[in-house]
Subunit: 221 residues, 2 copies
DNA sequence: TTTTACATTTTTGAATGCAAAATTTGCGAT
DNA sequence: ATCGCAAATTTTGCATTCAAAAATGTAAAA
């Protein structure tokens, strides 16, 4: 197995929450599971530590990183900035074909909203945001975005999705698509910021927290 | 020596240009120099690869990453976005003491400009930008900024600093300080963008390029 | 003289082994 | 029974070793 694959597989394990935040990462066990020895595993853990997904404690092993409220706020803030930038750049560079693809994804997402299928809605939502970042044509930006969103997603927060919030989010997405189609960079940037700010407020208001024990607390209204 | 120190020392070697872009990284030699064995060295190299400073080629060892023109453009674009965000956040959170410190650093930098001391000017310039990012109070943002600027600085480009350009840069810095003192986030963000855009134009117009051989070409007007 | 096939050397990537550090266990004292 | 302390065990971090892949050198053939 290639080095990068080892990193990806452990990343997936962390993102799936299989090893909860704050929990020790069982070296020996992971070695057996991935059928590799400790050397490549430890190399991967150090890479993931640099990414912020793993926390290394000298002579005390590695743990799945635990996010505080402040961490979450910081990550959202940066994510907002990155998406705003991506939006501006995307408007300068996006092709008609890419816009059409996003419009199609948008329509599908709206249908999931009408169907009340939250899971599929989230999936479509994420695909749209990723498509905008991709359309910015900046791999450096895309890389940072992936890393930051991975850390956010890692938290597996659940926010109470009220009909009002959901309707607002869909409305914002209409505006996002509209700005993209008009290639209005400043406008798109502005809408994306507001959209992310609302999402952040949701998450933090919902009372995001990761407890000492390693499992997460989800305060659902 | 601690893992993180190994990473830092190799990073420094790369940033100093001691191993030029595109050049192979001599494992055995570095091991002797840092007085460590291959295992911790290779762990560090993989971390630096994730950071974008090192390029890993399967079964062919590692090389100091080489930046293309496009990479440079992408990095500057992201840097611009990060600094703009930092400026906005800094205006919300910066303390009077921090503003005073930046004002002092600014005055010192202007004096270096009057003295025609380019090296010291650059040093002061960098300190101010870092202070603004730090004042944003967002460690995630600070981390990404450090990583991106390291990669840019890695290139050791030299731009022809004409008196006009230099004067403009100083003028922009006056505006930066002014916006900070007025805590005008939008204004500061705007000025920082322009400032970085000018710098990027300088660098790219100067004809940044990194040749195959490993050393860099500096086209100085 | 140039090119190609093959053997040798070097280098890479990963497993194992070993010493140091931390954690757990066991036992005696209170 | 509980607390404290020392021995035993486990785990970590790194050096070494080993197999496989790539690079290099050599010699024979065109």
């Amino acid at each position: 197995m290639l080095h990068e694959d080892v990193v990806s597989r452990i990343r997936a394990i962390l993102l799936d929450g299989e090893i909860p935040p704050g929990a020790r990462i069982p070296e020996r066990e992971l070695c057996e599971r991935l059928e590799i020895s400790r050397t490549p595993l430890r190399e991967a853990l150090k890479v993931l530590a640099a990414e912020g997904l793993v926390q290394l404690l000298p002579h005390r092993g590695s743990r799945a990183a635990k996010l505080t409220d402040k961490d979450m706020r910081d990550l959202f803030e940066v994510c907002q900035g990155l998406e705003a930038l991506a939006g501006e750049l995307a408007c300068e560079r996006i092709t008609d074909a890419e816009i059409d693809a996003i419009a199609a994804a948008h329509a599908a997402m709206v249908q999931h909203y009408r169907d009340g299928d939250l899971i599929q809605y989230y999936r479509g939502n994420r695909a749209i945001h990723e498509a905008i970042v991709s359309a910015a044509g900046n791999p450096v930006l895309a890389g940072l975005y992936t890393s930051v969103t991975a850390r956010i997603r890692r938290a597996r927060y659940v926010t109470p999705m009220t009909p009002q919030r959901w309707a607002l989010a869909v409305k914002e997405h209409d505006a996002i698509l509209n700005a993209l189609q008009r290639r209005d960079g400043a406008g798109l940037s502005h809408i994306l910021r507001a959209h992310l700010r609302h999402k952040r407020e949701e998450v933090l208001q919902a009372g995001f927290a990761e407890t000492e024990g390693g499992d997460l607390t989800l305060k659902i209204a």
